[in-house]
Protein backbone atom coordinates (compact mmCIF):
# COMPACT_ATOMS: atom_id res chain seq x y z
CA UNK A 1 0.00 0.00 0.00
CA UNK A 2 1.53 3.30 -1.08
CA UNK A 3 -1.14 5.60 0.18
CA UNK A 4 -0.52 8.45 2.58
CA UNK A 5 -2.17 8.48 5.95
CA UNK A 6 -4.63 11.09 4.74
CA UNK A 7 -5.51 8.98 1.67
CA UNK A 8 -6.10 5.90 3.81
CA UNK A 9 -8.47 7.83 6.06
CA UNK A 10 -10.35 9.22 3.09
CA UNK A 11 -10.65 5.82 1.46
CA UNK A 12 -11.98 4.34 4.67
CA UNK A 13 -14.47 7.20 4.94
CA UNK A 14 -15.62 6.43 1.38
CA UNK A 15 -16.11 2.74 2.23
CA UNK A 16 -18.04 3.60 5.39
CA UNK A 17 -20.27 6.02 3.52
CA UNK A 18 -20.97 3.69 0.59
CA UNK A 19 -20.94 0.23 2.17
CA UNK A 20 -22.10 1.06 5.69
CA UNK A 21 -24.62 3.87 5.34
CA UNK A 22 -26.10 3.20 8.77
CA UNK A 23 -22.78 4.02 10.45
CA UNK A 24 -22.70 7.59 11.68
CA UNK A 25 -19.13 8.77 11.62
CA UNK A 26 -16.96 11.85 11.65
CA UNK A 27 -13.45 12.69 10.53
CA UNK A 28 -11.17 14.95 12.58
CA UNK A 29 -13.51 15.24 15.50
CA UNK A 30 -12.21 17.76 18.06
CA UNK A 31 -12.12 16.45 21.62
CA UNK A 32 -10.21 17.78 24.65
CA UNK A 33 -7.49 19.31 22.53
CA UNK A 34 -7.13 16.27 20.26
CA UNK A 35 -8.46 15.78 16.77
CA UNK A 36 -9.76 12.22 16.44
CA UNK A 37 -8.98 10.94 12.94
CA UNK A 38 -12.17 8.91 12.80
CA UNK A 39 -14.96 8.67 15.32
CA UNK A 40 -18.08 6.57 14.76
CA UNK A 41 -20.99 5.05 16.59
CA UNK A 42 -21.20 1.31 17.12
CA UNK A 43 -24.35 0.24 18.94
CA UNK A 44 -24.62 3.69 20.50
CA UNK A 45 -21.04 3.53 21.76
CA UNK A 46 -18.39 5.86 20.40
CA UNK A 47 -15.30 4.38 18.77
CA UNK A 48 -12.26 6.55 18.17
CA UNK A 49 -9.52 5.60 15.70
CA UNK A 50 -6.05 7.05 15.27
CA UNK A 51 -4.33 6.27 11.96
CA UNK A 52 -0.61 6.09 11.44
CA UNK A 53 1.61 4.63 8.72
CA UNK A 54 4.57 3.88 10.96
CA UNK A 55 4.72 5.89 14.16
CA UNK A 56 2.69 3.49 16.30
CA UNK A 57 4.05 4.89 19.57
CA UNK A 58 2.66 8.31 18.79
CA UNK A 59 -0.60 6.69 17.67
CA UNK A 60 -0.89 4.92 21.01
CA UNK A 61 -0.26 8.15 22.93
CA UNK A 62 -3.07 9.85 21.04
CA UNK A 63 -5.41 6.86 21.22
CA UNK A 64 -4.86 6.66 24.96
CA UNK A 65 -6.20 10.21 25.24
CA UNK A 66 -9.26 9.23 23.21
CA UNK A 67 -10.28 7.03 26.15
CA UNK A 68 -11.30 10.27 27.86
CA UNK A 69 -14.06 10.79 25.31
CA UNK A 70 -14.65 7.45 23.54
CA UNK A 71 -15.99 4.15 24.75
CA UNK A 72 -13.51 2.27 22.61
CA UNK A 73 -10.19 3.49 21.29
CA UNK A 74 -8.11 2.01 18.47
CA UNK A 75 -5.00 2.64 16.49
CA UNK A 76 -5.07 1.65 12.83
CA UNK A 77 -1.92 0.64 10.97
CA UNK A 78 -1.07 -1.08 7.68
CA UNK A 79 -1.10 -4.80 8.46
CA UNK A 80 2.60 -5.22 7.72
CA UNK A 81 3.37 -2.70 10.48
CA UNK A 82 1.52 -4.55 13.22
CA UNK A 83 4.18 -6.40 15.18
CA UNK A 84 4.04 -8.25 18.49
CA UNK A 85 5.60 -5.20 20.07
CA UNK A 86 2.71 -3.03 18.88
CA UNK A 87 0.13 -5.50 20.19
CA UNK A 88 1.85 -5.75 23.54
CA UNK A 89 2.08 -1.99 23.97
CA UNK A 90 -1.54 -1.49 22.96
CA UNK A 91 -2.71 -4.23 25.30
CA UNK A 92 -0.93 -2.61 28.19
CA UNK A 93 -3.02 0.54 27.89
CA UNK A 94 -6.30 -1.03 26.82
CA UNK A 95 -6.23 0.36 23.28
CA UNK A 96 -7.32 -1.85 20.39
CA UNK A 97 -5.55 -2.38 17.08
CA UNK A 98 -7.10 -2.35 13.62
CA UNK A 99 -5.48 -3.31 10.37
CA UNK A 100 -6.74 -1.66 7.20
CA UNK A 101 -8.89 -3.80 4.90
CA UNK A 102 -10.00 -2.23 1.63
CA UNK A 103 -11.24 -5.50 0.17
CA UNK A 104 -14.37 -5.85 2.24
CA UNK A 105 -17.39 -3.77 3.09
CA UNK A 106 -16.08 -3.22 6.62
CA UNK A 107 -12.69 -1.50 6.22
CA UNK A 108 -11.10 -2.81 9.42
CA UNK A 109 -9.73 -6.10 10.67
CA UNK A 110 -9.74 -6.15 14.43
CA UNK A 111 -6.34 -7.51 15.43
CA UNK A 112 -6.77 -6.62 19.11
CA UNK A 113 -10.06 -5.58 20.65
CA UNK A 114 -10.23 -2.38 22.66
CA UNK A 115 -11.09 -2.55 26.35
CA UNK A 116 -14.10 -0.40 27.16
CA UNK A 117 -12.94 2.88 28.64
CA UNK A 118 -13.48 3.59 32.31
CA UNK A 119 -11.76 6.93 31.99
CA UNK A 120 -14.34 8.95 30.15
CA UNK A 121 -14.71 12.60 31.09
CA UNK A 122 -18.49 12.69 30.79
CA UNK A 123 -18.88 16.29 29.65
CA UNK A 124 -16.42 16.03 26.79
CA UNK A 125 -17.74 12.59 25.84
CA UNK A 126 -21.26 13.95 25.61
CA UNK A 127 -20.06 16.87 23.52
CA UNK A 128 -18.32 14.50 21.11
CA UNK A 129 -21.45 12.42 20.71
CA UNK A 130 -23.45 15.52 19.85
CA UNK A 131 -20.79 16.61 17.40
CA UNK A 132 -20.82 13.30 15.55
CA UNK A 133 -24.62 13.15 15.48
CA UNK A 134 -24.77 16.69 14.12
CA UNK A 135 -22.68 15.65 11.16
CA UNK A 136 -19.34 16.91 12.41
CA UNK A 137 -20.48 20.44 13.14
Amino acid sequence: MNLSEQQIVEKIADILASENPSVVFCLEAPAMGRSIDLAFFKKNKVVGVEFKLTNWKKALTQAKDYKLVCDYSYICLPSNKISDKVIEAAQEIGVGVFAVDFDNSWPFIEVLPSIVSTEKWPFAAKKLKSFIRAGCA
Partner: protein, 462 residues
Protein backbone atom coordinates in the same frame (compact mmCIF):
# COMPACT_ATOMS: atom_id res chain seq x y z
CA UNK B 1 9.39 54.78 43.29
CA UNK B 2 12.44 52.55 43.91
CA UNK B 3 12.23 48.80 43.96
CA UNK B 4 11.72 47.59 47.49
CA UNK B 5 14.38 45.65 49.17
CA UNK B 6 12.29 42.53 49.34
CA UNK B 7 13.64 39.02 49.49
CA UNK B 8 11.94 38.26 46.22
CA UNK B 9 10.10 40.65 43.96
CA UNK B 10 7.16 39.39 41.97
CA UNK B 11 7.21 41.11 38.60
CA UNK B 12 4.36 40.82 36.16
CA UNK B 13 4.73 41.55 32.49
CA UNK B 14 1.88 43.53 31.00
CA UNK B 15 0.81 42.01 27.70
CA UNK B 16 -2.37 43.67 26.46
CA UNK B 17 -5.19 45.99 27.46
CA UNK B 18 -7.58 43.24 28.47
CA UNK B 19 -5.18 42.26 31.23
CA UNK B 20 -5.69 45.49 33.15
CA UNK B 21 -8.52 44.14 35.25
CA UNK B 22 -6.28 41.31 36.43
CA UNK B 23 -3.66 43.76 37.61
CA UNK B 24 -5.97 45.78 39.83
CA UNK B 25 -8.67 45.09 42.37
CA UNK B 26 -7.99 41.97 44.41
CA UNK B 27 -4.78 41.29 42.56
CA UNK B 28 -3.25 44.71 43.04
CA UNK B 29 -1.52 43.83 46.27
CA UNK B 30 -0.28 40.45 45.10
CA UNK B 31 2.59 41.62 42.89
CA UNK B 32 5.38 44.17 43.28
CA UNK B 33 6.44 45.46 39.88
CA UNK B 34 4.80 45.92 36.50
CA UNK B 35 6.92 45.45 33.40
CA UNK B 36 5.84 47.09 30.15
CA UNK B 37 7.25 46.29 26.74
CA UNK B 38 8.19 49.58 25.06
CA UNK B 39 6.15 48.92 21.93
CA UNK B 40 3.01 48.34 23.98
CA UNK B 41 3.77 51.35 26.15
CA UNK B 42 4.21 53.70 23.20
CA UNK B 43 1.23 52.34 21.29
CA UNK B 44 -1.18 52.63 24.22
CA UNK B 45 0.38 55.61 25.86
CA UNK B 46 -2.72 57.51 26.90
CA UNK B 47 -4.60 54.57 28.35
CA UNK B 48 -1.55 53.15 30.11
CA UNK B 49 -0.64 56.55 31.53
CA UNK B 50 -4.10 56.73 33.06
CA UNK B 51 -3.85 53.13 34.19
CA UNK B 52 -0.49 53.59 35.89
CA UNK B 53 -1.37 56.92 37.46
CA UNK B 54 -4.88 56.15 38.66
CA UNK B 55 -5.17 52.46 39.28
CA UNK B 56 -1.62 51.53 40.21
CA UNK B 57 -0.18 54.73 41.64
CA UNK B 58 1.77 52.93 44.34
CA UNK B 59 3.05 50.22 42.05
CA UNK B 60 6.63 50.12 40.86
CA UNK B 61 7.09 49.72 37.16
CA UNK B 62 9.69 49.86 34.44
CA UNK B 63 9.72 49.79 30.67
CA UNK B 64 11.69 47.24 28.69
CA UNK B 65 13.01 49.33 25.79
CA UNK B 66 13.11 46.30 23.42
CA UNK B 67 16.05 47.71 21.47
CA UNK B 68 16.92 44.15 20.45
CA UNK B 69 13.85 44.16 18.21
CA UNK B 70 15.77 46.19 15.64
CA UNK B 71 18.71 43.82 15.29
CA UNK B 72 16.68 40.84 14.07
CA UNK B 73 15.22 40.34 10.61
CA UNK B 74 12.58 43.04 10.20
CA UNK B 75 10.03 40.39 9.26
CA UNK B 76 9.69 39.70 12.99
CA UNK B 77 8.21 43.16 13.57
CA UNK B 78 6.12 43.30 10.45
CA UNK B 79 2.38 43.23 10.57
CA UNK B 80 0.92 39.79 9.80
CA UNK B 81 -0.56 40.56 6.42
CA UNK B 82 2.75 41.55 4.88
CA UNK B 83 4.94 38.82 6.31
CA UNK B 84 4.77 36.82 3.12
CA UNK B 85 6.71 39.43 1.19
CA UNK B 86 10.33 38.58 0.61
CA UNK B 87 11.76 42.01 1.29
CA UNK B 88 10.66 43.99 4.28
CA UNK B 89 8.42 46.81 3.27
CA UNK B 90 9.00 49.34 6.02
CA UNK B 91 5.50 50.66 5.80
CA UNK B 92 4.46 47.16 6.77
CA UNK B 93 6.24 47.35 10.11
CA UNK B 94 3.84 47.15 13.01
CA UNK B 95 2.61 50.59 14.01
CA UNK B 96 3.83 50.13 17.56
CA UNK B 97 7.39 49.60 16.35
CA UNK B 98 7.21 52.54 13.94
CA UNK B 99 6.17 54.68 16.90
CA UNK B 100 9.07 53.32 18.91
CA UNK B 101 11.52 54.05 16.12
CA UNK B 102 10.28 57.65 16.20
CA UNK B 103 11.20 57.80 19.86
CA UNK B 104 14.67 56.35 19.49
CA UNK B 105 16.24 58.94 17.22
CA UNK B 106 17.09 59.71 13.65
CA UNK B 107 19.99 57.29 13.31
CA UNK B 108 17.83 54.25 14.04
CA UNK B 109 15.12 55.61 11.76
CA UNK B 110 17.60 56.14 8.96
CA UNK B 111 18.68 52.51 9.09
CA UNK B 112 15.41 50.71 9.74
CA UNK B 113 12.99 52.95 7.87
CA UNK B 114 15.03 54.63 5.12
CA UNK B 115 17.46 51.83 4.39
CA UNK B 116 14.93 49.15 5.27
CA UNK B 117 17.28 46.84 7.17
CA UNK B 118 18.01 45.70 10.69
CA UNK B 119 20.77 47.11 12.87
CA UNK B 120 24.31 45.79 12.82
CA UNK B 121 26.99 46.37 15.47
CA UNK B 122 28.91 48.69 13.16
CA UNK B 123 25.85 50.99 13.06
CA UNK B 124 26.59 51.80 16.69
CA UNK B 125 30.36 51.94 16.49
CA UNK B 126 30.76 55.67 17.05
CA UNK B 127 30.42 57.46 20.37
CA UNK B 128 27.89 59.81 18.84
CA UNK B 129 25.51 57.09 17.65
CA UNK B 130 25.75 55.24 20.96
CA UNK B 131 25.15 58.44 22.88
CA UNK B 132 22.16 59.52 20.78
CA UNK B 133 20.42 56.16 21.00
CA UNK B 134 21.09 55.76 24.71
CA UNK B 135 19.81 59.22 25.55
CA UNK B 136 16.65 58.73 23.49
CA UNK B 137 15.99 55.30 25.00
CA UNK B 138 16.37 56.61 28.55
CA UNK B 139 14.28 59.72 27.84
CA UNK B 140 11.52 57.54 26.47
CA UNK B 141 11.45 55.39 29.59
CA UNK B 142 11.36 58.49 31.79
CA UNK B 143 8.73 60.43 29.88
CA UNK B 144 6.51 57.73 28.46
CA UNK B 145 3.88 57.91 31.16
CA UNK B 146 4.86 61.26 32.61
CA UNK B 147 4.49 63.65 29.71
CA UNK B 148 0.89 62.91 28.96
CA UNK B 149 0.12 63.01 32.61
CA UNK B 150 1.17 66.63 32.66
CA UNK B 151 -0.99 67.64 29.75
CA UNK B 152 -4.07 65.48 29.71
CA UNK B 153 -7.33 65.19 31.53
CA UNK B 154 -5.62 62.63 33.67
CA UNK B 155 -3.48 65.37 35.16
CA UNK B 156 -6.53 67.48 36.01
CA UNK B 157 -8.18 64.50 37.62
CA UNK B 158 -5.04 63.67 39.55
CA UNK B 159 -4.75 67.27 40.74
CA UNK B 160 -8.34 67.08 41.90
CA UNK B 161 -7.69 63.86 43.80
CA UNK B 162 -4.57 65.29 45.39
CA UNK B 163 -6.50 68.39 46.44
CA UNK B 164 -9.12 66.18 48.01
CA UNK B 165 -6.38 64.29 49.83
CA UNK B 166 -7.28 61.12 48.01
CA UNK B 167 -4.01 60.60 46.16
CA UNK B 168 -0.54 60.74 47.61
CA UNK B 169 1.91 63.01 45.89
CA UNK B 170 3.59 60.36 43.80
CA UNK B 171 5.75 60.96 40.79
CA UNK B 172 5.10 58.60 37.94
CA UNK B 173 8.47 57.39 36.86
CA UNK B 174 10.13 54.01 36.32
CA UNK B 175 11.86 52.30 39.20
CA UNK B 176 14.85 51.40 37.06
CA UNK B 177 16.20 52.50 33.71
CA UNK B 178 17.45 49.99 31.19
CA UNK B 179 20.27 50.88 28.84
CA UNK B 180 19.89 49.91 25.18
CA UNK B 181 20.73 46.25 24.80
CA UNK B 182 21.04 43.66 22.08
CA UNK B 183 20.70 39.90 21.88
CA UNK B 184 23.96 38.01 22.41
CA UNK B 185 24.52 34.82 20.49
CA UNK B 186 27.68 32.73 20.60
CA UNK B 187 29.58 35.32 18.55
CA UNK B 188 29.03 37.89 21.32
CA UNK B 189 29.36 40.49 18.56
CA UNK B 190 26.95 42.85 20.29
CA UNK B 191 28.63 42.61 23.70
CA UNK B 192 30.83 45.65 23.28
CA UNK B 193 27.87 47.73 22.08
CA UNK B 194 25.87 46.70 25.14
CA UNK B 195 28.72 47.71 27.40
CA UNK B 196 29.18 51.06 25.69
CA UNK B 197 25.48 51.85 25.84
CA UNK B 198 25.41 51.05 29.52
CA UNK B 199 28.45 53.20 30.23
CA UNK B 200 26.74 56.17 28.60
CA UNK B 201 23.46 55.43 30.36
CA UNK B 202 25.02 55.13 33.79
CA UNK B 203 26.12 58.75 33.72
CA UNK B 204 22.57 60.02 33.73
CA UNK B 205 20.81 57.44 35.89
CA UNK B 206 20.36 57.96 39.60
CA UNK B 207 22.15 55.63 41.99
CA UNK B 208 20.46 52.32 42.47
CA UNK B 209 18.40 52.57 39.30
CA UNK B 210 20.73 51.51 36.50
CA UNK B 211 19.88 48.26 34.77
CA UNK B 212 21.56 46.16 32.13
CA UNK B 213 19.39 43.70 30.28
CA UNK B 214 21.19 40.57 29.13
CA UNK B 215 19.58 38.35 26.50
CA UNK B 216 21.62 35.31 25.52
CA UNK B 217 21.09 32.09 23.67
CA UNK B 218 21.58 28.57 25.00
CA UNK B 219 25.01 28.29 23.41
CA UNK B 220 26.25 31.12 25.57
CA UNK B 221 24.52 29.75 28.65
CA UNK B 222 26.00 26.31 28.17
CA UNK B 223 29.54 27.44 27.35
CA UNK B 224 31.75 28.17 30.36
CA UNK B 225 34.09 30.20 28.15
CA UNK B 226 31.39 32.39 26.69
CA UNK B 227 29.48 32.91 29.91
CA UNK B 228 32.72 33.81 31.71
CA UNK B 229 33.46 36.36 29.00
CA UNK B 230 29.98 37.76 29.43
CA UNK B 231 30.24 37.98 33.21
CA UNK B 232 33.68 39.57 33.09
CA UNK B 233 32.45 42.25 30.69
CA UNK B 234 29.52 43.20 32.92
CA UNK B 235 31.68 43.07 36.03
CA UNK B 236 33.56 46.07 34.69
CA UNK B 237 30.45 48.25 34.39
CA UNK B 238 28.67 47.29 37.64
CA UNK B 239 24.99 47.75 36.88
CA UNK B 240 22.76 48.03 39.94
CA UNK B 241 20.31 45.58 38.37
CA UNK B 242 20.83 42.81 35.83
CA UNK B 243 17.80 41.61 33.91
CA UNK B 244 18.35 38.15 32.50
CA UNK B 245 16.53 36.45 29.61
CA UNK B 246 17.74 33.22 28.03
CA UNK B 247 16.32 32.54 24.58
CA UNK B 248 14.71 29.15 24.00
CA UNK B 249 15.00 28.35 27.70
CA UNK B 250 12.02 26.83 29.43
CA UNK B 251 12.54 25.64 32.99
CA UNK B 252 10.05 22.86 32.37
CA UNK B 253 11.88 21.48 29.34
CA UNK B 254 15.57 22.19 29.99
CA UNK B 255 17.91 19.34 30.85
CA UNK B 256 19.92 19.11 34.06
CA UNK B 257 23.09 20.53 32.51
CA UNK B 258 21.30 23.60 31.19
CA UNK B 259 19.44 24.14 34.46
CA UNK B 260 22.73 23.92 36.35
CA UNK B 261 24.39 26.39 34.01
CA UNK B 262 21.42 28.72 34.51
CA UNK B 263 21.86 28.58 38.28
CA UNK B 264 25.59 29.19 37.97
CA UNK B 265 25.10 32.16 35.66
CA UNK B 266 22.58 33.78 38.00
CA UNK B 267 25.06 33.35 40.84
CA UNK B 268 27.92 34.78 38.80
CA UNK B 269 25.84 37.77 37.72
CA UNK B 270 24.57 38.10 41.27
CA UNK B 271 28.09 38.98 42.35
CA UNK B 272 27.84 42.05 40.12
CA UNK B 273 24.32 43.32 40.70
CA UNK B 274 20.84 42.34 41.79
CA UNK B 275 19.42 39.87 39.29
CA UNK B 276 15.90 39.73 37.92
CA UNK B 277 14.78 36.86 35.70
CA UNK B 278 12.62 38.36 32.99
CA UNK B 279 10.85 35.09 32.27
CA UNK B 280 10.66 32.41 34.92
CA UNK B 281 8.56 29.95 36.84
CA UNK B 282 8.84 28.20 40.17
CA UNK B 283 12.30 26.82 39.44
CA UNK B 284 13.61 30.39 39.34
CA UNK B 285 11.53 31.34 42.38
CA UNK B 286 12.94 28.39 44.32
CA UNK B 287 16.51 29.56 43.64
CA UNK B 288 15.74 32.62 45.73
CA UNK B 289 13.49 30.95 48.27
CA UNK B 290 16.10 28.36 49.21
CA UNK B 291 19.03 30.77 49.09
CA UNK B 292 20.66 28.98 46.20
CA UNK B 293 21.01 32.31 44.38
CA UNK B 294 21.31 34.89 47.11
CA UNK B 295 21.23 37.92 44.85
CA UNK B 296 18.32 36.79 42.70
CA UNK B 297 15.89 39.50 43.65
CA UNK B 298 12.99 39.05 41.28
CA UNK B 299 11.26 36.70 38.87
CA UNK B 300 8.87 37.85 36.17
CA UNK B 301 5.88 36.09 34.71
CA UNK B 302 3.16 37.04 32.30
CA UNK B 303 -0.52 36.39 32.32
CA UNK B 304 -0.41 32.59 32.26
CA UNK B 305 1.95 32.48 29.27
CA UNK B 306 5.08 34.34 30.21
CA UNK B 307 7.29 31.93 32.14
CA UNK B 308 9.41 31.37 29.05
CA UNK B 309 9.75 33.33 25.85
CA UNK B 310 11.72 33.06 22.64
CA UNK B 311 13.53 36.21 21.56
CA UNK B 312 11.82 36.12 18.18
CA UNK B 313 9.06 36.66 17.31
CA UNK B 314 9.04 39.98 19.14
CA UNK B 315 5.78 40.15 21.00
CA UNK B 316 2.52 38.55 19.94
CA UNK B 317 1.40 34.95 20.38
CA UNK B 318 -1.92 33.39 21.28
CA UNK B 319 -2.23 32.08 24.82
CA UNK B 320 -4.10 28.80 25.33
CA UNK B 321 -6.19 28.29 28.43
CA UNK B 322 -4.57 25.65 30.63
CA UNK B 323 -5.02 24.62 34.23
CA UNK B 324 -2.00 25.35 36.42
CA UNK B 325 -1.40 22.39 38.69
CA UNK B 326 0.18 23.89 41.81
CA UNK B 327 1.86 20.70 42.98
CA UNK B 328 3.96 20.39 39.85
CA UNK B 329 4.26 24.10 39.06
CA UNK B 330 3.10 23.52 35.51
CA UNK B 331 0.26 24.59 33.26
CA UNK B 332 -1.48 21.55 31.84
CA UNK B 333 -3.79 20.99 28.94
CA UNK B 334 -7.20 20.38 30.44
CA UNK B 335 -7.21 16.68 29.50
CA UNK B 336 -3.91 16.23 31.37
CA UNK B 337 -5.22 18.24 34.32
CA UNK B 338 -8.15 15.80 34.52
CA UNK B 339 -5.78 12.82 34.51
CA UNK B 340 -3.56 14.39 37.17
CA UNK B 341 -6.47 15.38 39.36
CA UNK B 342 -7.87 11.85 39.14
CA UNK B 343 -4.57 10.33 40.13
CA UNK B 344 -4.24 12.78 43.03
CA UNK B 345 -7.68 11.86 44.31
CA UNK B 346 -9.02 15.27 43.51
CA UNK B 347 -12.51 14.24 42.54
CA UNK B 348 -13.72 12.16 45.51
CA UNK B 349 -15.16 15.21 47.20
CA UNK B 350 -14.92 18.97 47.38
CA UNK B 351 -12.69 18.64 50.43
CA UNK B 352 -10.34 16.20 48.70
CA UNK B 353 -10.09 18.56 45.74
CA UNK B 354 -9.08 21.47 47.94
CA UNK B 355 -6.67 19.32 49.93
CA UNK B 356 -5.04 17.58 47.02
CA UNK B 357 -5.35 19.95 44.07
CA UNK B 358 -5.95 23.58 44.97
CA UNK B 359 -7.65 25.76 47.55
CA UNK B 360 -7.09 29.16 45.98
CA UNK B 361 -9.92 31.68 45.99
CA UNK B 362 -10.91 30.84 42.43
CA UNK B 363 -11.04 27.10 43.09
CA UNK B 364 -12.87 27.64 46.38
CA UNK B 365 -15.42 29.72 44.52
CA UNK B 366 -15.72 27.29 41.58
CA UNK B 367 -15.63 23.78 43.00
CA UNK B 368 -18.85 22.54 44.60
CA UNK B 369 -19.99 19.12 45.75
CA UNK B 370 -20.38 18.34 42.05
CA UNK B 371 -16.64 18.32 41.79
CA UNK B 372 -16.16 17.01 38.27
CA UNK B 373 -18.90 19.14 36.81
CA UNK B 374 -17.48 22.30 38.34
CA UNK B 375 -13.88 21.42 37.54
CA UNK B 376 -15.05 21.15 33.95
CA UNK B 377 -15.55 24.92 34.05
CA UNK B 378 -11.77 25.21 33.68
CA UNK B 379 -11.95 23.36 30.38
CA UNK B 380 -15.00 24.50 28.47
CA UNK B 381 -14.37 25.12 24.81
CA UNK B 382 -16.32 26.30 21.81
CA UNK B 383 -15.94 24.49 18.51
CA UNK B 384 -15.31 26.61 15.45
CA UNK B 385 -15.92 25.00 12.07
CA UNK B 386 -14.72 26.54 8.83
CA UNK B 387 -15.56 25.10 5.46
CA UNK B 388 -12.85 22.86 4.12
CA UNK B 389 -10.92 22.88 7.38
CA UNK B 390 -11.02 20.63 10.44
CA UNK B 391 -13.09 21.95 13.32
CA UNK B 392 -11.06 23.38 16.15
CA UNK B 393 -11.71 23.96 19.81
CA UNK B 394 -11.01 27.24 21.52
CA UNK B 395 -11.42 28.04 25.19
CA UNK B 396 -14.36 30.29 26.00
CA UNK B 397 -13.66 33.71 27.44
CA UNK B 398 -15.04 32.55 30.78
CA UNK B 399 -12.70 29.53 30.79
CA UNK B 400 -9.70 31.65 29.93
CA UNK B 401 -10.51 34.08 32.69
CA UNK B 402 -11.10 31.35 35.24
CA UNK B 403 -7.80 29.65 34.40
CA UNK B 404 -6.00 32.98 34.59
CA UNK B 405 -7.41 33.89 37.99
CA UNK B 406 -6.47 30.47 39.30
CA UNK B 407 -2.97 30.83 37.83
CA UNK B 408 -2.44 34.26 39.39
CA UNK B 409 -3.66 32.98 42.75
CA UNK B 410 -1.26 30.05 42.51
CA UNK B 411 1.64 32.36 41.73
CA UNK B 412 0.75 34.53 44.71
CA UNK B 413 1.11 31.51 46.97
CA UNK B 414 4.41 30.56 45.34
CA UNK B 415 5.98 33.96 45.83
CA UNK B 416 4.59 34.80 49.21
CA UNK B 417 4.35 31.60 51.21
CA UNK B 418 7.03 29.35 52.54
CA UNK B 419 5.18 26.29 51.39
CA UNK B 420 8.22 24.08 51.82
CA UNK B 421 10.18 24.21 55.02
CA UNK B 422 13.49 23.87 53.26
CA UNK B 423 15.16 22.56 50.12
CA UNK B 424 15.04 19.00 51.41
CA UNK B 425 11.28 19.03 51.74
CA UNK B 426 10.91 20.69 48.31
CA UNK B 427 13.02 17.99 46.67
CA UNK B 428 11.08 15.29 48.46
CA UNK B 429 7.87 16.83 47.16
CA UNK B 430 9.19 16.92 43.59
CA UNK B 431 10.20 13.27 43.74
CA UNK B 432 6.85 12.27 45.18
CA UNK B 433 4.87 14.08 42.49
CA UNK B 434 7.02 12.64 39.73
CA UNK B 435 6.52 9.06 40.94
CA UNK B 436 2.80 9.62 41.40
CA UNK B 437 2.13 11.15 37.99
CA UNK B 438 4.79 9.86 35.59
CA UNK B 439 2.59 7.07 34.25
CA UNK B 440 -0.37 9.37 33.77
CA UNK B 441 0.99 12.50 32.19
CA UNK B 442 2.97 13.09 28.99
CA UNK B 443 6.66 13.13 29.79
CA UNK B 444 7.06 16.80 28.89
CA UNK B 445 4.46 17.68 31.52
CA UNK B 446 6.08 15.86 34.43
CA UNK B 447 9.75 15.19 33.73
CA UNK B 448 10.75 18.64 34.92
CA UNK B 449 10.08 17.45 38.48
CA UNK B 450 12.78 14.85 38.14
CA UNK B 451 15.18 17.24 36.41
CA UNK B 452 14.67 19.97 38.98
CA UNK B 453 15.31 17.39 41.67
CA UNK B 454 18.52 16.25 39.99
CA UNK B 455 19.71 19.83 39.53
CA UNK B 456 18.91 21.20 42.94
CA UNK B 457 20.06 18.29 45.06
CA UNK B 458 23.59 19.56 44.49
CA UNK B 459 22.70 22.51 46.71
CA UNK B 460 21.57 20.52 49.70
CA UNK B 461 23.54 21.38 52.83
CA UNK B 462 26.39 18.94 53.30
Amino acid sequence: MSLEEKDLLRLVRFGKSSEKEFLTGNFLGSYDVLVFNANIAVHNRASLTKFVAERCPQKSYFIDPLTHAFQHELVHIQSKSTKKKENADVSALKKSFLKLIDQYGSHLKEIVVTEGRSLRPKDLSSAQTVSELTKKVLDFQKECFAILQKKSDTSKYMKFLKKEGKLPDVKVEPSIYIAPYFFLDESLEWLQTNIECFNVAKESIADGKSAAEIIINLEVLNSKTLSNKLVNAYKKISPDWILLWVDDFDEHKANVETLTNYVNLINDLGKIGKVICLYGGYFSVSLSKFNICKNLKGVTHGMAYGEARDVVPVGGGIPVAKYYLPDIFQRLLFRDAVKAARQKDGFTSKISFHENICSCDECLKTITDEVQKTFNLFGITKTISKEGKPSKEYPTAATTEKCLRHYLNSKTTEYRDMRFLDLTSFLSHLKGQYLLLKSHLPSDSINHCQKWHETLKAYLPK
